[in-house]
Amino acid sequence: MSAPDDLTRLTAADLAARLAAGEVSSTEATRAHLDRIGAVDGPVHAFLHVSADEALATARAVDQARAQGEPLHPLAGVPIAVKDVVVTRGLPTTAGSRILEGWVPPYDATLVRKIKAARLPILGKTNMDEFAMGSSTEHSGYGNTHNPWDLDRIPGGSGGGSAAAVAAYEAPLAIGTDTGGSIRQPAAVTGTVGVKPTYGSVSRYGLIALASSLDQAGPVTRTVLDAALLHGLIAGHDPHDSTSLTDPVPDFAAAARLGATGDLTGVRVGVVTELRGEGYQPGVLARFEESLDLLRQAGAQIVEVSCPHFEYALAAYYLILPAEASSNLAKFDGMRYGVRVEPDEGPATAERVMAATRGRGFGDEVKRRIILGTYALSAGYYDAYYGSAQKVRTLIQRDFAAAFTQTDVLVSPTAPTTAFKLGEKLDDPLAMYLNDVATIPVNLAGVPGMSLPSGLSDDGLPAGFQVIAPAREDARLYRVGAALERLLETRWGGPLLKDAPELEVAK
């Protein structure tokens, strides 16, 4: 007997297996998730838009195709949520901003085309910090998302919606994007799994751009294997994206299954000195150390490595990102799409309407970063700011390259703290930026990184373990991550999420 709850507790891999075996239909599974959304998303507010009709239509089509024996993608019929920074034709897309309120894109992002071609029902669009700028989703123009572990706390950001949706069993799979940690940090504070792929390995065509040289889309899931499966679906070369790699897509699921045997003999694991010092919560560090012990027991060699230029990573990031973003966000001016705001007084010229639209349509954090970025690029300041930051980037890449001569993967706690309370860091932008201190170097170098749960900190809230691999070696993340996951879940007697409080279900 399958009660709706049961279906939502399944991993994507398990659900896919049941769909393939004909034990359950995609329509049932999709309906179950839509019901769950209806039941809990009031308080959680992970979703900005729920596309029930479209999702059920896809589910029905999949069921029919399966009944007729058509070959289907392994994930066909498994519902998925998509971060609202990804363009979806026919579904409203806001990037968490009021300036795009009501905009319905006339085209699909490449990764959405892949998802649609594989026939995963799209449940809806998830909440996020406005234009992906933030670490708590509090900068969304459409209200906060609440951490399912504690509804008074942040779910992380900028992709708090996708992580919360997955943590609250509203979806087994979700798409996120990561520019400085926006997939990994929410994963850490919600007890879920998130991966930022190698830069260029997943198409950015259709991702509303924040920082072009840092953005990557990736999987948001509850297990490492699920992330591997989703990653395999969305990765691959795209001629529409000139920064897209032509490499064939490795078999990430195979790497995850290999890791799940729990044997890491010969794997060299580097602990980055600069990524676990001051500012890291003791409980977070303790869970990290315990995870290292498990890796050691699994046969891995743990060494300490120093990446001395990482201390400049945050500064470089908060120059490169705002500079690129200030240019990427210039297109939002009320002329072609989105809202148009006229100035309160004076002539409504194009110039003044643009300024009024952007003044009213953008939130504080976005304005902050656009002004900072415009400043960093302006005449006379380029060399000192943007130019210098790009040099720091070279030094950070060199640090990684040096570290990887001695190691196969690098590890660190994903974020310094567990989920803080909503409102706690809103008045201190710099304090907010520090959430990403461990994740940012990864984006600057373009290497891949994963966060998976390391356990509960002393405050009973999830902490994350970050695994980093060299560029193009994403498979290593899955092997090491799956191994650790297996060892930890054995210790816990099941996934960490089983200890999350049950959310109140609306009638």
Partner: protein, 499 residues
């Protein structure tokens, strides 16, 4: 709008003009610079756009390889060095016809740089213009201003934007300051733009029709007291839509700036607009620090590193450029410089080339096209190429002369017939019976008749006075309706008389 108080001749006497020209050419590729939207003339508004050329959120540029090849062709034709490696850059500014509110262009890494081109003025003087750079960029959309008194921007109530043109590939060519042209600066400017236009067509990279905006020129003008003085403040004049406008705009600016300087005022560094109706420039946007473009390398595109072998391949496929071709033909044809210049200015080069290919000697071809046909064209107020006669027909006509069937005089009559639409030269000859009388018997008969009619002429001729021969020839020509070869008639007359 201020009328210059200084006459042009005076202005160039007191000041040394320095000019600079920026030419934008739209490349004739099938699709746009950064996306697969097609570009062709006359499409309905906003039907040639993809998410990329509309600048939709999430869109990313992808470089058109053919456009890059065309840009390299232009660079090579301009004797430029092709960059070993170059990148695109973002030029950030807000304007409704720029959908991303930045233009993807090239900043400090142009695809081609440091070249030159020789420009021929009408009197044959050759002037070398140094090229600073040629770079790739994308075009903006088109605004139509609605409302307001004249439909121009000031006073317009709103604007309508068509993004069909947004993203069309452009190459921008920038000269170094052009010095030493003196009073001929306006001519040089015009000749430069014309040379470039001809070059683009010869290279096959653009239809290069100025009237369609395929080629646009902005002219920079500044004055300085002497050629040794530092460069003066320059103005940039836009909206110069024809070769004639280029020359006139430069001329006007020189006069205007001279007047300003004469009054002890300073020339304002600004963008000006050329007006063909009033033959003047007016003040536009003041160029100030407000235009901080915040250039940075385009993060969505990767560097272009042209393979040297590929560049050489392109170089090998460059066609002979118009100037080089003209020099070669002049040598082959044996024309003097002034003769060739006249031919070029009359637009007769291709016509003569075809006529020579049809068998006529170059001198003969020139004689026809620059003589009788040029006269006729002028009378009718048309171009040579518009006359209803083909080079092949001229070739045939000359062949009839060469073969003795026609004299020059007869040939001219045949030509008249052809121009009048009576048919080919052969047909006109047959229809009008214009062939030279080659039957010597008939000629002798006519000669004898003429001599018999003027008996005292024979004695005079025999006595050494050859004057009256002309009269006999005249009589014979009349008798044969002009279809005798006058030279042969003369020979026969003398033979007859002396026998």
């Amino acid at each position: 709008m201020s009328e210059p108080a200084v006459a042009y001749d005076e202005a160039v006497e007191r000041y040394d003009p320095v000019i600079g020209i920026e030419v934008h050419v739209e490349l004739g590729t099938r699709t746009k610079m950064f996306d697969g939207a097609e570009q062709y003339f006359g499409a309905d508004p906003n039907t040639q756009i993809t998410p990329v050329s509309l600048g939709l959120p999430g869109a990313l540029p992808a470089v058109n390889g053919t456009a890059v090849e065309y840009a390299i062709r232009i660079g090579l034709a301009l004797n430029c060095a092709i960059a070993e490696s170059c990148r695109f850059a973002r030029k950030n500014y807000f304007y409704p016809d720029v959908p991303k509110n930045f233009q993807t262009s090239q900043y400090d890494e142009p695809i081609a740089h440091d070249g030159w081109v020789d420009v021929e003025l009408e009197d044959g003087t050759v002037f070398r213009v140094d090229i600073e750079r040629a770079h790739m960029e994308e075009d903006a959309g088109k605004n139509t201003h609605v409302g307001g008194a004249t439909g121009r921007i000031h006073g317009a109530v709103y604007s309508l934007v068509d993004y069909n043109r947004a993203g069309v590939p452009l190459v921008e060519i920038v000269t170094r300051p052009i010095t030493g042209a003196g009073e001929r600066a306006p001519e040089v400017a015009r000749a430069y733009v014309q040379t470039l236009r001809d070059m683009f067509r010869a290279l096959g990279v653009s239809e290069a029709r100025m009237e369609r905006g395929n080629v646009r020129a902005d002219v920079n003008v500044s004055l300085r007291p002497t050629p040794q003085s530092p460069l003066g403040t320059r103005t940039e004049t836009k909206n110069v839509n024809s070769f004639r406008s280029v020359e006139r705009a430069v001329r006007f600016e020189i006069s205007r700036q001279a007047a300003v300087l004469d009054e002890g005022r300073a020339v304002v560094q600004e963008t000006r607009h050329w007006h063909e109706d009033t033959l003047s420039t007016t003040s536009g946007r003041v160029k100030s620090d407000a235009e901080d473009y915040r250039y940075f390398p385009e993060p969505d595109l990767v560097p272009i590193v042209p393979d040297p072998a590929w560049v050489e391949q392109i170089r090998a496929t460059l066609p002979e450029l118009p100037a080089a071709r003209r020099r070669r033909l002049a040598t082959e044809w044996g024309y003097s410089d002034p003769e060739m210049r006249d031919v070029v200015n009359a637009g007769a080069v291709e016509l003569i080339e075809s006529t020579v290919a049809a068998g006529a000697a170059p001198a003969a071809a020139r004689k026809w096209w620059m003589g009788e046909l040029a006269r006729t064209a002028k009378e009718q107020g048309v171009e040579l190429s518009e006359l209803p006669v083909t080079p092949q027909q001229i070739g045939a006509l000359q062949a009839l002369v060469d073969g003795g069937t026609l004299t020059d005089k007869l040939a001219r009559q045949v030509l008249e017939g052809v121009l009048a639409g009576e048919g080919t030269p052969e047909e006109v000859v047959a229809a009008r019976g214009l062939a030279v009388v080659s039957d010597e018997g008939a000629l002798l008969a006519a000669i004898d008749e003429a001599l018999a009619a003027q008996p005292d002429v024979v004695a005079k001729i025999q006595g050494g006075n050859l004057g009256p021969v002309g009269a006999i020839i005249g009589a014979v020509m009349k008798a044969t309706r002009g279809q005798a070869d006058a030279a042969r008639v003369r020979e026969l007359v003398l033979e007859r008389v002396r026998s």
